[in-house]
Subunit: 207 residues, 2 copies
Amino acid sequence: MSPKLSDQTKEQRVLQILEAAKRVFADKGYGAVSLKDIIEETGMSRGWIYLYYQSKDEIFEDLLNYQDEQYERELAERLEQCASVWELVYELQFQQLQELLVSHKGDLMPAFYEYFLLGYRNEERQELLRQRYEKGIARFAAILQAGVDRGQFSPIMSVIDISRIVASFQEGIITHAITVGIETANTKIQLESFIDYVKSLLRPITS
Amino acid sequence: MSPKLSDQTKEQRVLQILEAAKRVFADKGYGAVSLKDIIEETGMSRGWIYLYYQSKDEIFEDLLNYQDEQYERELAERLEQCASVWELVYELQFQQLQELLVSHKGDLMPAFYEYFLLGYRNEERQELLRQRYEKGIARFAAILQAGVDRGQFSPIMSVIDISRIVASFQEGIITHAITVGIETANTKIQLESFIDYVKSLLRPITS
């Protein structure tokens, strides 16, 4: 008979697994990781892990969802507390990029690219990527819409299209910064122009 | 004794190999391709190929260089012939993206991403990617500079930075178009905004 676990204990255990998996994926990318690597990193027994997950795919997808949920909670809080939505937008874009530039060690970006770009012939992964894209676009558009609702933005096009444009531009800046380095890409100038451009799309109303 | 080959015959043979390799890489990506696949596609004997190439890496890099040279020649010609450099810039950005969107079958993009993004722990590939980046940025900046020299552009910053910014934005739009599809990404609107933005950086002088 296996011991009865409270929901809290279960949740804690899942979190432990996800945190361990994150370290492994950040360290090795995606393809090079085996379920065994993750199990070893958790320090738990094989049996415990199999209670929750059957494959590294499942763990990786759950890890992405977990990070999204954390991020969404943080965003909702910051949106509620901020006086100026433009400042929040600025911080989100600029700080996010800057953090990435200082160091992209310990983060999931490379594993993420491996998982999805190499899965471009895999329909399930493509569908998952599409869903993640739409969720991310809607999430940022909701912030922009809050700016409109509070009378702080006067955007030149729909907030959902602005969200898509911002996502593309940001994607490109990050990709180039990571692949050729921030000096070669002159990422600082790119960021400044990017912010100016986003401003020209949103037209924040300065009182 | 092997037959003596004229330089022309050699060049022709190399071209045949590169064309065959392109079909294979476009079809299968990078990782899944073996040197054997390429040899089979050429229809030549193993021995012939080894006269020119020792590995698929060599073939792939040569293929990229060959495509670059073709593109550079085409660009130089178009620049010389065009009356309006802005129209050339517009065509280059817009048409290039549109072609990609209509169909990215038969092109090397996925193999290219695999080769470089998965080589992000490989210093030689990183250096190669950096060199390719700088060459591409300089190539487009030279076109922009031609527009300045002809008195057709009045850019708000250095043409080299504009070239970097354009490259990032374009990279992001293409990445999202390919990964989630042009409807989901609303790529049409993104392209229109992108062109407007590039215009605001270059400020073409309309006479």
